[in-house]
């Protein structure tokens, strides 16, 4: 293995004097800077890179382009890294996958000899009787088959990010066709973005031949286009959205026109043992040497089916690899350039020999005459004819037709073009010409308005001879281990068997045999599978068609895909940092952060019940409805009547869906005639706003719905001493005569114009103060300052929840679910059936006529249950049982410090819903007895609200 001193033609410079050290299976490996992990391992003598999916056969480097599954390893805990293209980095920990105990000596290799017991689809057939056998077997199969393991403890990568790009024309692939297309489009005035997965432009020119002058001129012509190197496209999505990964960067590119110039690729021939380490694609051999400076072997047999194979043989020999023979599968005679190598024309390759590495190949005349001939070699270069790498065109919706052994683009898709080998054009000058043509077309359409179509003519001359892949090896070699799908170990025999079993069209065949379902997603086997399917069905390949190509085309790390979703927007009230400084414990309420408590919720309850407390309720939804028909809108959306509500008055408001299910509750206030103010619960704020907008639009009502949630903050000052505190900072008349319960007033608090709602969610005299968000801190601190002499304290959501439970107020979503209606939830008194129309009217009318099935009731736990070893919240969600059967559930449960007992809300059958009745709650396998209590638990007459 030689490391050249000069820069490689592919843009990499390998510096053997600046080695990179990493470990493979714990052993140190030295790589030249710039090499891939796979190349460095190959250079150090490693030949077995992985074990195959099913039979655990040894596999080694094959395509050296990241297309095949032969080099997957776990690198630094990341499974299934394609090591042939992954750059070697200092200190990397590389380990093998899917083998035991080691890559070189894998005992599971025994499966290779058990193939009789493991036919295609064996997991549908074997080990299902008796039935207990399958779970055991499944566990075993899952353990021994497959790919790398995900490190569930791995920390997510935090350096992944996303970038959104926009361009008139996006060219995918910077080979000769792509560069020509880019230059033509840019010259025509379009903005052009070129995506290239390699670190250098040039495509196949970099590996085959050395037209540096040509590449130089192509590159400079495309100088106006923006070039992104190392950017691998994994999908084309609706609306000409391209998904690409550039290292840890996710690129989302919107292009008016896309030109797919992804080139072509070789695919494996079929013969016995066609997967042995040492058998490679000819392009892989060239890439290994010209990208990474590693020679693939010493003595090679070149297997080809077209004229270009001789040129590739010449290229391979220039790498210093001796050519033992060129096997040309086409009938007739051929001759090597200069007659340097023996040429076996009209021969096919029957089988390969070797246990864990290629030792020899056997060839025989294709017509079956003549003796078989064994040729010693350590490398087999499969120089098969290129097929278009057209998966992205597939994804974009292009249809294909099968012609001369290749799928060529047929029906046009607007905005998607193709050029070069991807479009079936293989001659270099034709590729350049086609690229220029497509580039000009795309620019015209991208900048102008027309929509071009995918060209159907192909400048490349129709190749002479038979097609590549299947038919080249005619008569078909009949070995047992002729792998079609390298990812999933599907052999040609398996395909034949599956078709014989009736899975004879390509999509069911794919699903049953799993051909093309592995990591390469059919890049190596898709076309061969179609051809075999046609062969065994005795029909045209074009009639068989292809399987559907879907993103991702290449493996993409989840961290990269998720990079624009790893942040979750956080909403903070204007007092967030004040709460934080006070040691608030946080509660996540949707996107909001709310203080759950400031340490001791029970003490906070006592403060409010006996003195005065202040809570930040800025998260409430705040909606203003203005206009001549504002009351009409509320009348139709809510259960109550609004038309009669006088300015300055406030009303509890409840909304139902059209199905009569409780949707949200809040407080509605009439600010003036035709102007209403509505609060909504924290989690429902946006939904309620959109609900009102929807119905305003539907009914064409003359009203405007304004979402003021972000613009206004709110705080609730509550407790018997509220009036004294508030009186210090406002000139509003707070007497019950001037400002009764419940009512709304507008006035200044601490010099800030505010809206005050006198309501009592926590059951004490209280005012909800709404002010512009920017003044929240000022009002809040002014109230705390004014309350100093009264022992004012902030309180959190937990204390509020305890106090609302003492008052028996339900929380929509907590105490109700998607089946709860207001009649059974105890809100039946609010429903005004005499209104002409409101949402949920019809279902509620019907519900009213039938006896209720269950009720939401308050309950108390007897004193003996007070010894619960866990918090009473643990009862929430527990079943109410009646004669051993579930009959309801507990929705809220807390210890009430005010009443010194456990209280809660529960859905119970009507028969159990009268006060003093007892029911059982199933908790941790035992029954806890509860007694129905009348609501509210605290201050039933509401005297404390009206003081």
């Amino acid at each position: 293995m030689s490391a050249p001193a000069t820069p490689l033609p592919t843009g990499r410079t390998l510096d053997p004097h600046a080695p990179v050290l990493f470990t493979f299976e714990g052993q140190p490996v030295r790589a030249a800077a710039g090499q891939s992990i796979g190349a460095a391992l190959y250079a150090s003598g490693i030949r077995i890179f992985t074990r195959s999916f099913k039979y655990h056969r040894p596999r080694g480097l094959f395509c050296v382009s990241g297309d095949c599954p032969h080099c997957l390893m776990t690198v630094d805990g990341r499974p299934n890294v394609r090591t042939c293209i992954e750059p070697a980095g200092a200190g990397q920990r590389v380990i093998s996958q899917n083998c035991w105990p080691s890559l070189n000596h894998d005992v599971l290799r025994a499966f290779d000899r058990l193939d009789y017991f493991l036919p295609v689809g064996f997991y549908y057939k074997r080990f299902h009787k008796p039935r207990w056998l399958w779970p055991i077997f499944e566990h075993f199969v899952r353990h021994v088959a497959g790919l790398g393991r995900i490190d569930v403890k791995a920390k997510p990568k935090l350096d992944a990010n996303v970038e959104h790009l926009h361009t008139d024309v996006c060219v995918i692939g910077a080979g000769p066709a792509g560069l020509s297309a880019a230059s033509a489009a840019a010259d025509a005035g379009a903005s052009v973005l070129v995506l290239e997965r390699e670190i250098q432009v040039g495509g196949h020119l970099l590996y085959e031949g050395d037209p540096q002058s040509l590449l130089g001129s192509l590159r400079s012509a495309a100088g106006k286009a923006e070039l992104l190197l190392g950017a691998t496209v994994f999908g084309i999505y609706e609306g000409n959205l391209i998904g690409a990964a550039q290292g840890q960067r996710l690129l989302k590119i919107r292009a008016k026109q896309i030109i797919v110039c992804t080139g072509g690729r070789q695919r494996p021939f079929l013969f016995h043992n066609n997967d042995l380490p040492g058998i490679m694609l000819a392009r892989g051999v060239l890439r290994l040497s010209r990208s990474y400076g590693v020679r693939a072997g010493h003595r090679a047999v070149v297997l080809t089916d077209h004229d270009d194979g001789y040129r590739l043989a010449q290229q391979i020999s220039e790498l210093g690899i001796a050519i033992a023979a060129v096997v040309d599968t086409r009938p007739g005679t051929g001759s090597a350039p200069n007659g340097r190598w023996p040429v076996l024309a009209g021969h096919c390759l029957v089988r390969a020999f070797g246990n864990s590495a290629l030792k020899a190949v056997r060839v025989q005349r294709g017509d079956g005459t003549g003796p078989a001939q064994d040729i010693d070699c350590d490398l087999l270069c499969q120089a098969s004819r290129l097929v278009p790498a057209n998966e992205l065109l597939h994804q974009a919706g292009t249809r294909f037709r099968y012609e001369e052994g290749r799928w060529l683009p047929g029906r046009a898709v607007p905005g998607i073009l193709a050029a070069g080998a991807a479009a079936g054009t293989f001659a270099l000058d034709a590729q350049i010409a086609e690229g220029k043509r497509r580039g000009a077309e795309a620019a015209q359409a991208g900048v102008g308005s027309g929509q071009p179509t995918v060209g159907s003519e192909h400048a490349a001359a129709a190749p002479v001879g038979v097609a590549s892949g299947l038919t080249t090896q005619c008569p078909l070699p009949t070995g047992k281990k002729q792998f079609v799908c390298l990812c999933e170990d599907v052999t040609e025999k398996d395909i034949e068997q599956a078709i014989a079993e009736g899975f004879d069209s390509i999509e069911p065949l794919k699903r049953y045999s799993t051909v093309s379902m592995g990591p390469c997603q059919g890049k190596m086997c898709g076309q061969t599978a179609s051809e075999l399917c046609a062969h065994f069905n005795r029909c045209e390949v074009g009639a068989v068609g292809t399987t559907t190509n879907r993103p991702p085309l290449v493996p993409v790390e989840m961290a990269v895909l998720a990079s624009d979703r790893r942040h979750h927007p956080v909403r903070r009230t204007p007092l967030h940092h004040w709460h934080k400084a006070q040691g608030a414990r946080w509660l996540d309420a949707g996107q909001w952060k709310r203080p759950e408590s400031y340490g001791d919720p029970v003490a906070e309850v006592k403060t409010v019940r006996n003195g005065v407390g202040l809570i930040d309720v800025s998260t409430l939804g705040k909606i203003e409805i203005v206009g001549p028909q504002a009351a009409e809108l509320l009348d139709r959306v809510c259960l109550q009547k609004w038309a009669g509500l006088k300015p300055g008055r406030v009303r509890y408001s409840v909304m139902c869906t059209e199905e009569g299910i409780l949707f949200d509750d809040g407080i509605g206030a009439c600010l003036e005639s035709g102007r209403y103010y509505l609060t909504a619960s924290t989690g429902n704020a946006e939904a309620v706003f959109q609900w009102l907008e929807l119905w305003r639009t539907t009914w064409r009502l003359d009203a405007t719905v304004l979402n003021r949630t972000s613009g206004l903050a709110a705080m609730n000052l509550a407790g018997p001493q509220t009036r004294e505190v508030l009186g210090k900072v406002t000139s509003l008349d707070l007497s019950s005569a001037a400002f009764p319960y419940p009512a709304v007033r507008e006035g200044e608090v601490a010099g800030v114009p505010c809206r005050l709602l006198r309501i009592g969610f926590v059951g004490e005299l209280g005012y909800e103060i709404h002010c512009p968000s920017a003044y929240t801190w000022h009002v809040w601190t002014a109230l705390l300052e004014a309350g100093k002499g009264f022992g004012i304290k902030p309180f959190g959501v937990e204390a509020q929840r305890i106090m609302r439970l003492e008052k028996g107020h339900l929380i929509v979503g907590q105490d109700t679910d998607a089946l709860s209606n207001p009649l059974e939830a105890g809100l039946d008194g609010l429903v005004r059936f005499d209104k002409p129309q409101f949402l949920g009217q019809q279902p509620l009318v019907r519900l009213k006529e039938r006896p209720p099935r269950s009720r939401l009731v308050g309950f108390e736990l007897s004193a003996t249950q007070a010894g619960l070893t866990v918090g009473p919240q643990a009862l929430e969600g527990c079943q109410v049982v009646e004669q051993g059967r579930p009959a309801g559930r507990v929705t809220s449960c807390r210890f009430s410090p005010t009443l010194s007992k456990y209280i809660g809300l529960a859905w119970v059958p009507v028969a159990l819903s009268a006060p003093t009745q007892r029911f059982a709650v199933r908790f941790s396998g035992a029954d806890v007895m509860a007694t129905v209590a009348s609501l509210p638990f605290y201050d039933p007459e509401g005297k404390r609200l009206k003081v």
Partner: protein, 228 residues
């Protein structure tokens, strides 16, 4: 009633500014962070890479209703009229922007903190002061677009989103209004997000822009950019 300190409004990033040693100044009833280090230094950094200014205190007025038709008709969708005059009896100080959000919704954006008020009531126009509903940020500097394309799918290239245009879109996963302003010597963009998402978006801007050289910029530094 005891004497109470004159209320001073705070931007949603007040605590962030204080933690980053901003020098505050009272302007039109607002506590405005004027400068972090020096206006010249901040302007220099913005001129080189990109700076971000908290302009949440600048007055905003939402106008809705059929009474706006006469004004809105002259504006193409998603455009912003510079220096609008006499919109629904609102006296707009120079310079201001009137963003056409829908065919009956205008958002007036002032360049000072002084509240925008209609001179008289117009029954067909509903005016709402939304100054503290939308936090505002101004990005200024040559790498403004580079930063934005990390956070929004909107095409922010100048050709697609020229000066005096606006768009409602998602920015860092939050609903936002983007406005391209013409007034600076460097590319500039104004972003408006709901008040309570301000800190989150600000943090995301600084994080996404950290390898683009983003730095906070005070209004004084911004003025230097405007002048040059």
């Amino acid at each position: 009633m005891p004497t109470i300190a004159t209320p001073l409004a705070r931007t949603p990033l007040h605590d962030w500014h204080a933690a980053h040693r901003a020098r505050f100044e009272a302007r039109n009833g607002w506590q405005v962070p004027m400068v972090y280090s020096s206006p010249e230094g901040e302007a220099e950094e913005a001129r080189r890479d990109v700076g971000v200014v908290d302009i949440s205190a600048l007055a905003k007025l939402s106008l809705r209703g059929k009474g706006l038709a006469g004004f809105i008709e002259k504006l193409s969708p998603y455009s912003a009229a510079a220096q609008p005059r006499d919109v629904a009896n609102v006296r707009c100080p120079d310079p201001a922007l009137a963003c056409r959000l829908t065919d009956d919704h205008l958002l007036l954006l002032a360049l000072t903190e002084a509240p925008l008020q209609p001179d008289s009531q117009n029954a067909k126009v509903l005016a709402t002061d939304v100054t503290s509903a939308h936090a505002g940020f101004c990005l200024a500097g040559p790498r403004t677009e580079d930063l934005l394309r990390r956070l929004t799918a909107l095409d922010v290239r100048k050709a697609a989103f020229p000066a005096n245009s606006c768009a409602e879109t998602s920015l860092a996963g939050v609903e936002a209004l983007l406005v391209r302003t013409p007034e600076l010597s460097v590319p500039a963009m104004r972003l408006y997000v709901p008040w309570d998402f301000a800190e989150y978006v600000w943090e995301r801007l600084l994080e996404a822009g950290c390898n683009l050289g983003i730095s906070p910029l005070g209004p004084e530094g911004l003025r230097l950019l405007t002048a040059s």
